[in-house]
């Protein structure tokens, strides 16, 4: 087992390994970060706002005099968890619908595609604005918004893949073996879509992290006192003028996270077949 992992890692390119390290690091932070936090992320512990690196506050204090390190540690799980979940949801939904269109009659295909166009063409941030105004901001809602926003994209890619795969001989073979649509979709087509979709997943993840931070800019994101990395940047943006760690650190965090995920996934798909044109 461990050998398997070791050889798997060995097979990765240099940048791939870097990506792996970053991803693992952030997954760790996301899972155990809150327990490492020296202070209660909500508590006003520092008298000075936008303090620099000090012994008491390794990453300084934020705009309310809260401990940046603690907030970072406990905020990571929103960015990582939420974005990961949303990206997964979006891709899964996209793939499922794509498979559906690949094996279903023309009109259903048309219908779904039109609906996707509808979703794409409504600007995501404004869409979220409306939804948040309707039901109020909450993690489930953000999850929903993010996945709905990026589902059409993965649907488009998945669909073009699925439609091509549906023409492959082995699918024809399955057809004239008398297989049902479900079997064809799940056992014959799906396995061959995974690789390209993985690469797409990486970019989607980045964009969701960004969408979330964009939403928090509009005051729609993760709600205080909690904060994901994006909202950490946002709420401390006034510290940018004085280059406060309170804003630099979250920004760096986001960058390393997103770049890490993509380096890793590029390395993975690079080993698998090159993916066809995305989106």
């Amino acid at each position: 087992m461990t050998n398997a992992i070791r050889s798997w890692v060995k097979a990765l390119s240099g940048s791939g390994r870097l990506g792996l390290v970053l991803v693992v690091f952030w997954l760790l932070i996301a899972s155990i970060g809150p327990f490492l936090a020296p202070y209660d992320p909500g508590a006003f512990v520092a008298h000075d706002v936008f303090a620099g690196f000090t012994g008491a506050h390794p990453l300084g204090s934020d705009y309310l005099g809260r401990d940046v390190l603690s907030r970072l540690l406990s905020g990571a799980r929103y960015s990582v968890g939420l974005a990961l979940a949303a990206a997964l949801l979006a891709s899964l939904a996209g793939i499922t619908l794509a498979l559906l269109t690949a094996v279903s009659p023309r009109w259903l295909d048309e219908g779904i595609s039109r609906f996707m166009d509808t979703l794409i063409s409504i600007p995501s941030k404004i869409f979220s604005l409306v939804l948040v105004a309707v039901v109020g901001s909450s993690l489930p809602l953000l999850l929903l918004v993010a996945s709905i926003t990026y589902m059409p994209g993965s649907f488009r890619i998945a669909r073009s893949l699925a439609v091509n795969l549906a023409q492959m001989d082995y699918v024809q073979v399955a057809r004239c073996r008398g297989e049902g649509a479900a079997y064809i979709a799940i056992r014959e087509i799906l396995p061959n879509m995974i690789h390209p979709m993985l690469a797409d997943f990486g970019l989607r993840f980045v964009f969701i992290v960004l969408l979330l931070s964009g939403l928090s800019f509009l005051g729609l994101g993760v709600q205080p006192p909690d904060a994901d990395l994006g909202s950490l940047v946002r709420e401390n943006i006034s510290g940018l003028g004085e280059a406060a760690p309170a804003i630099l650190m979250p920004a760096i965090a986001i960058a390393t996270l997103t770049v890490g995920v993509n380096l890793l996934i590029d390395a993975l798909t690079g080993r698998g077949r090159r993916m066809a044109g995305k989106e």
Partner: protein, 587 residues
């Protein structure tokens, strides 16, 4: 020593594995050298090395290549760029893929000449047109304006020749230039090539796996296997007195002696019976009035060139394309036209084996899964029982049971095709339809598959519908043979019937076009007589499809009336106005 091309100790590596090792040969100016071998023999790699080119992931690891007085391997990128397409030019295997689909033919043909500053655009185009003419291309003035997808494979192959010859190269490399073509086209293309190369006075390297074709083209032959030279000698010597063991196996495979199978006497109720079958994609008709029967344990060979509708026939029987007219009866009962209406049992009893095993096997599944699926699906076989059965099947197709765990990606073409077959067998079918199952394979491997099919037939009493473009292959396995041309059934009969003289003009052309394994055959063929002049074909009338190409057509009849069916002396039924078909006789 006035050899024009000298190759010494050539060695090409892909990563750490050596794919061409210590290859050396020389070609006198103006002669044609053939590189022959199976896939993976390194013949194409060597051909490309002559231009100092190695494919992605490969590198030329050692040796020397001299063309004229140029040491090719010592050239830098620019030097090579200057050499390629100018002094040394290349004709790729698949012209269809090697032409840029989004640019006009003319742009691509003149590109080498213009790019190397040989000719200016106008002159180049003029030259191109003359080449088109000499290569016997239809309307040479305008053909350059068209796009690749608007032209046939044979035309593209010749256009590629024009592109290769336009700079007047001293060395032309032809890489399997006719493999993708129908025999009837191949013969013309071969003729055109030979002529053109001779006119140019160019030295040529002809890469092929087909001995018979090589026999027509080459002065000398180099036999390759696994990147090494097995035999190197004059064409006549290698073909008539092959010194090397491997060469002999190649020769043997090239002339498949028919597997001795005695056709069972037609039982009362035929297994498959098709009457007046028509099929169409959308509005364009593909098959018209097909009638055939296959007895239990019998083999019907269906032959025709690409686009003749032979694959469609299989699809219709399989139920993937509902027929627009006619009836299909299987084992006495009518077969529902479309997939959705067929019972699992009906599916089970008819299995279709696709031409290309690479695409017919799902790369995501392992061998065990692929063969196991029909077992589970039709026979509800699971777990240990299934595993056992899979092992048996693998054994049946002469593959080690250990293969079951392997993903089918890593397997060789032959192995894949066997697994492709095993999947069909797993269903315990009564009828297997084989669509060009050997055409993607090397001759030797293909021959082995044919033997396997024959054995299985004997052991399991299977009936085959065997589809191929190669008359030789069909002859080797079929009891009855049906010739399709443009969707019409031009001739049907016992295998023996095709040895007789009287046959449909198209059948005649088909058989006559298969090169024989001896030098000089091509010359003997001479040019086919041009079709006699006839009146304007009566439009609307359901005329003979072969009319435009037929050298035997009869003015006043063929362009007027629908051809009737005749029984030839040989006992075959032909669709032709001439009862005696293509044979000389009272006309």
């Amino acid at each position: 020593m006035n050899n024009h091309v000298e190759v010494r100790g050539l060695c090409v590596k892909a990563g750490t594995t050596t794919i061409v090792e210590d290859v050396g040969f020389s070609i006198p100016r103006g002669e044609v050298l053939a590189l022959i071998g199976e896939s993976g023999s390194g013949k194409t790699t060597i051909a490309m090395a002559l231009m100092g080119y190695a494919r992605l992931g490969c590198r030329i690891a050692g040796g020397s290549v001299r063309v004229g007085d140029t040491d090719v391997l010592s050239l830098d990128e620019d030097g090579l760029a200057a050499l390629r397409g100018d002094r040394v030019s290349y004709i790729a295997q698949s012209a269809a893929a090697s032409f840029n689909p989004s640019r006009r033919i003319m742009d691509q043909v003149v590109e080498p000449a213009v790019n190397h500053g040989r000719l200016d655009r106008k002159a180049a185009e003029a030259k191109a047109v003359t080449l088109f003419r000499s290569l016997a291309l239809p309307n040479p003035e305008s053909i350059g304006e068209r796009y690749p997808h608007q032209l046939s494979g044979g035309q593209l192959q010749r256009l590629m020749a024009a592109m290769a010859l336009i700079t007047g190269p001293e060395l032309v490399i032809l890489d399997e230039p006719t493999t993708a073509l129908d025999v009837t086209t191949q013969i013309e293309v071969l003729r055109a090539f030979k002529q053109a190369v001779r006119d140019q006075g160019a030295t040529a390297v002809y890469v092929s796996h087909d001995l018979a074709v090589v026999a027509q083209m080459a002065d000398a032959i180099v036999v390759l296997n696994k990147g090494r030279i097995r035999e190197n000698g004059a064409a006549a010597q290698v073909l008539e007195r092959p010194a090397d063991e491997y060469t002999r196996t190649l020769m043997a495979a090239a002339r498949p002696e028919r597997a001795a199978v005695d056709a069972p006497k037609a039982t009362a109720a035929p297994l498959l019976e098709i009457k007046g079958l028509n099929a169409a994609y959308g509005t364009t008709p593909i098959l018209r009035d097909i009638n055939l029967t296959i007895a239990r344990g019998a083999t019907l060979g269906v032959i025709g060139e690409s686009g003749s509708g032979k694959s469609t026939l299989a699809r219709v029987i399989a139920g993937m394309l509902p027929p627009s007219a006619g009836s299909i009866r299987f084992d006495g009962a009518g077969l529902p036209p479309s997939l959705s209406m067929r019972s699992r049992e009906q599916f089970r009893r008819i299995q279709l084996v696709f031409q290309n095993a690479d695409t017919a096997l799902n790369p995501a599944h392992c061998v065990g899964e692929i063969i196991g699926r029909p077992l589970a699906f039709y026979h509800g076989l699971k777990g240990a029982a299934a595993t056992r059965r899979v092992a048996e099947l693998l054994d049946l197709i002469k593959l080690p049971a250990s293969l079951a765990e392997r993903p089918c990606g890593g397997l060789s073409g032959g192995q894949k095709q066997r697994i492709n077959l095993a999947r069909a067998l797993a269903a315990k079918p009564d009828l297997i339809m084989c669509d060009e199952v050997t055409s993607a394979l090397d001759t030797v491997v293909g021959a082995a598959i044919l033997d396997l099919l024959a054995d299985l037939k004997r052991e399991l009493g299977l009936a085959y519908l065997f589809i191929s473009h190669d008359i030789g292959t069909v002859r080797a396995i079929a009891d009855d043979i049906m010739v399709l041309y443009a969707g019409t059934q031009v001739e049907t009969g016992r295998r023996q019937g095709y040895h007789g003289v009287a046959r449909h003009p198209y059948t005649d052309l088909l058989i006559g076009s298969v090169p024989e394994l001896r030098p000089g055959w091509l010359e003997e063929q001479g040019d086919r007589p041009a079709p006699p002049a006839i009146g304007q074909p009566k439009d609307g009338a359901d005329l003979c499809r072969f009319l435009p190409r037929c050298s035997w057509r009869v003015g006043g009849t063929c362009e007027e009336f629908t051809p009737p069916r005749h029984r030839t002396p040989g006992g075959n039924i032909i669709l032709c106005h001439r009862p005696e078909g293509a044979s000389e006789g009272a006309s």
